[in-house]
Amino acid sequence: MNVRAGVAVLWRRLDGLAMTALAGFLGWLVLAGNYWMYLNPRFKPVTGAAAVVLAVLGLYAVWRPVTRPSLGRGLCYLALTVMICLSEGGTQALSRVMDSEPFAACPVPFDQPAATSVPSRLTVGGTDYVPINTGELYDIAANGHGPAFDRPYAMRGFASRDPALDAKGEFVLYRLAVWCCFADATAVGFRVKVPAGAPLPAAGTWLVAYGRLVDAPPGEDKEYALPKMAFSSIAPLALFAAEHLETAAFSPEEAAMFAWHEKEPYAF
């Protein structure tokens, strides 16, 4: 078989090959890849099942092509391949080449630190804090005063600053809540009042804040829109009065929240 005939055979089986390759990528994502970059991990079984079905259909289509390849579908496969290359480290590699300093906002696809288990209490300065994520604490704050409102909590997230908050000694601590997929992610967080005399953290810092919920001062119980975030929910009625702030090692997988519990143990 000459090269031209081989290409023709492959071209006729393009749909099947593409489906099989996509099934392989989805299978890899579920078993060993950065699934969390795209979807909430609770959907792994659904994606895994889809990968199996897709593999069966794809292999069948390789064996006996169903339709003739088309330019539109060829472009679609090309676009998907480019997106996967960009997302799985391509843009960071480009950034490294262009300015020697890869941007840190996006998840690092390889060499992730393993997620560590969280103790039931985090103790700082003799006080036991309940580890909780911003989404869970948001619900507690929205429910108003009660036993849960008044407990000491530890939550983690990114710091966001703006001049208006700076003037009041506050910043916003937020994390992305991913309900289904990354495209529907919303930032959920709190305005945080720093301890007296403490400096405000640099914008973008990943940190853990230890403190308690307090009512927002009169006239300040309004919605706050997080700069550069189209979709955000910053608790309007409560502030987080921090008693201690500390920067923490950042694991990209922990940038987003995928689970919310109504009672302990919270997802942190």
């Binding site: 749909d15 489906m19 989805l26 994502l29 970059m37 795209y38 979807l39 959907f43 659904v46 994606t47 889809a50 079905v53 259909l57 069948y60 289509a61 006996r64 169903v66 339709t67 003739r68 539109g72 579908r73 472009l75 679609c76 676009a79 998907l80 480019v82 997106m83 960009l86 997302s87 391509g90 843009t91 960071q92 480009l94 950034s95 262009m98 300015d99 941007f103 906002a105 996006c106 619900d139 929205a142 809540a177 309900w179 289904c180 997929c181 990354f182 495209a183 529907d184 919303t186 959920v188 919605e223 829109a225 700069p227 550069k228 975030m229 189209a230 979709f231 955000s232 929910s233 309007p236």
Partner: protein, 339 residues
């Protein structure tokens, strides 16, 4: 490098939308293939309600009982219509199913912290729009609503690849060659009704498989390009453009309707995004929730593949008009305009 960061966001969001929708697309295509291979048209015509209103109500009820996402129902609807399901039932089902099913209702309840107001109004508005479109379609024949084959692809139910070079020998002759009815509808692998041929279970299964694949391939490219547009909006449109809409109800309602169309979010997840629009009036958030599952970029591109231009126009105009009118009226009735 914010540009590269945006590019990364764009790629990640595109893949997220595709991967999220893919299982539902597969499910829809497999269901479509099974309907084609195993559901005889005569039974469908015999057992389903035929009147305009009963058929529409049947479609709404079927939607309420079928937890599915909007991506999977389009070509399933095409297949159902081709099988003789009354158009009113098929289209009411297609528009309503992504919203009025228990999973979507539960997701809306959770997103709005147990407050049923938004979930109830969302179902009411979507059911109203779906009912109107279904009732309109009930006065027409299914054949007039679906795109014909246009002779682009030679078809048969032999289960073999056409366009290949194996000869059709005597053992493989098409029954009634030349006399068999031409298929009225379909995609690349559309075939003669299976019931005409009385094939074996294995042959039917193979036919189902091939139809499922053809439907999947038809729609997958639409999904990918639709997802790219939606992700581009998320990655590259500045936040102030969106936030500028929140000030006035009359800007906010159409603004969030357009946003729902562009973002193309899954109907099981869009409630969480809507819940984050805390500074927008309630009727505008309702407009976002009701519009997205009935009309978005992916759906528009899929409809163009499947339905006649006239039906596509109806599907564009009626749900949008119903959602806008309903939310505008609610804007008057909602305490404080829903602000």
């Amino acid at each position: 490098m914010p540009t590269l960061a945006n590019l990364d966001l764009f790629a990640q969001a595109t893949l997220a939308i595709v991967f999220e929708a893919l299982p539902f697309l597969l499910l829809g295509s497999v269901a479509s293939g099974l309907v084609e291979a195993f559901v005889p048209r005569e039974k469908v015509e015999r057992y389903l309600p035929k009147g305009r209103l009963p058929a529409t109500l049947f479609g709404l009820a079927l939607g309420a009982a079928t937890p599915c996402c909007e991506c999977g129902v389009v070509f399933l609807t095409r297949r159902l219509l081709a099988k003789g399901v009354p158009p009113g039932a098929g289209l009411a089902f297609m528009l309503a199913a992504p919203v009025v099913n228990p999973v979507s209702i539960a997701a809306t309840l959770v997103a709005f912290r147990g407050d049923p107001t938004m979930a109830v109004w969302r179902c009411v508005v979507v059911a109203l729009a779906a009912g109107i479109v279904g009732y309109w379609a009930g006065g027409r024949r299914g054949e007039t609503l679906i795109k014909p084959l246009l002779g682009l692809e030679p078809t048969c139910a032999c289960g073999h690849d056409h366009g290949h070079d194996h000869p059709h020998g005597p053992a493989h002759a098409h029954p009634g060659n030349g006399a068999a009815p031409k298929p009225l509808f379909g995609s690349l692998a559309e075939a003669l009704p299976v019931a005409v041929l009385h094939p074996s279970l294995a042959k039917r299964t193979e036919t189902a498989l091939r139809h499922a694949m053809a439907d999947f391939l038809d729609m997958a490219k639409v999904l990918v390009f639709g997802a790219m547009v939606a992700a581009a909006f998320k990655a590259f449109v500045p936040t102030p453009v969106i936030l500028a809409l929140e000030e006035h109800l009359w800007l906010a309602i159409p603004g969030l309707m357009v946003l729902a169309v562009i973002l193309s979010l899954c109907s099981q997840a869009d409630a969480f995004v809507a819940a984050s629009f805390t500074s927008f009036p309630e009727p505008a958030r309702l407009a976002f929730l009701a519009m997205g599952p009935m009309l978005d970029l992916k759906l528009f591109l899929m409809w163009r593949q499947v339905f006649t231009p006239r039906l596509v126009r109806v599907l564009l105009v009626v749900p949008a008009a119903v959602v806008f009118a309903a939310c505008a009226v609610l804007g008057f009735l909602w305490p404080g305009g829903g602000a």
